[in-house]
Symmetry: C2
Subunit: 217 residues, 2 copies
Amino acid sequence: MLLADDQQLLRTGFKLVLGTEPDLDIVGEATDGAEAVEMARRLLPDVVLMDVRMPRRDGVTATRDIVAQKLPVRVLILTTFDLDDYVVGALRAGASGFLAKDVPAEELVAAIRTVAAGEAVVGPRILKRLLDRFATLLPDPAAEFPNQLASLTDREREVLIQVAKGLSNAEIAAALTVSETTVKTHVGHMLTKLGLRDRVQAVVLAYETGLVRPGSA
Amino acid sequence: MLLADDQQLLRTGFKLVLGTEPDLDIVGEATDGAEAVEMARRLLPDVVLMDVRMPRRDGVTATRDIVAQKLPVRVLILTTFDLDDYVVGALRAGASGFLAKDVPAEELVAAIRTVAAGEAVVGPRILKRLLDRFATLLPDPAAEFPNQLASLTDREREVLIQVAKGLSNAEIAAALTVSETTVKTHVGHMLTKLGLRDRVQAVVLAYETGLVRPGSA
DNA sequence: GAAGGTGTCCTCCCTAAGGAGGAGAAGAGT
DNA sequence: ACTCTTCTCCTCCTTAGGGAGGACACCTTC
């Protein structure tokens, strides 16, 4: 395990707590982000305990570097304040967990073992916020399609999906084995029902409502 | 606390485990989703332990109902298999936590207390998946756009973004304060560079590559 | 100063797309 | 039986979109 925190006092505290656990070894201590990256690469610890706020290089970008190098190293972020910005940034950077620094010792120890096992840990308060935010970001698979799409007939919705794949009317006709005229009729009805001008806007709406999603193509 | 699970055996198991905790009372047991909603409203437990898969009404929609009624009740979802779909759905529904049913007893107890305190709990394996997914959902400024988009000039990419909003050439021209001819030139170049046939396919590509994302419109 | 890239604009031309309007067949509901 | 909806297909017409090809201005870079 690698300790990365600029506060000497805090490092000492961690060493005290973790020293009682025979299976957890502190193989090094870094006092800033740049040093943390260097030591992670050299010492290959299972886990890096990384403070977010550090001189020279903050914990988030340091995490990004470590993860980008594809080292067999998991990063557990420690924060004094559970600010969303840090958490989201660290998440993107590829951190395996986040804990507030005020966690009880046993929880910290348990968290380190969990992260070392390749799973994730997030402190409860932070998790709460994260989930709230996550919920608003996520498309809802179970949700009914808001109002508008409901007015479409099955066939029209089907055509819309084909349109949202980037297919021309002729291609859709071939795919559904109907005439191009029929496709044009469906497309026309679909557009007026949805109040759209052209198929381009239909594609946008399909993505925005979640009728189709990136990656499902 | 309210137990909602259609398996009698499982309910008994939970009662055994939770019975040893003096501060945790099971105030009721529901055997399906509809019943769970009704009992939650009537008994107002601090926490509902809810199975995802239940007859009549699955745990996710039941959770949605409970949350929608703004009851002072937190829902902790239990899953046998940590399938993403359930987790995402439950999240959207407003659940406060998710645990796999194979958690150790102490963890379950701790989780219930955490959820009762208004914070969130997610089992480590599930959390890992969730974080991975979350990370991909978040815009990552550091990621290069995969190959193709890189060949576009700034202006062409800018035009593509406008196209992906569903705007016509004339509208784009107005938005960028250039002539429509210019826009057509950019669109044409953009299409040939990306090997696309028309603007519809351009929209699809914009969404699929993450150049634009659902919700950012 | 020449060359390449970019951004701006033009004309000429052709086709896919979309609107209007109508029509027949099959099924569900009254 | 009758109506409503959906799906199917048609014609006629207009236009936005896209391809080809060229032109000019402004940068950097060599």
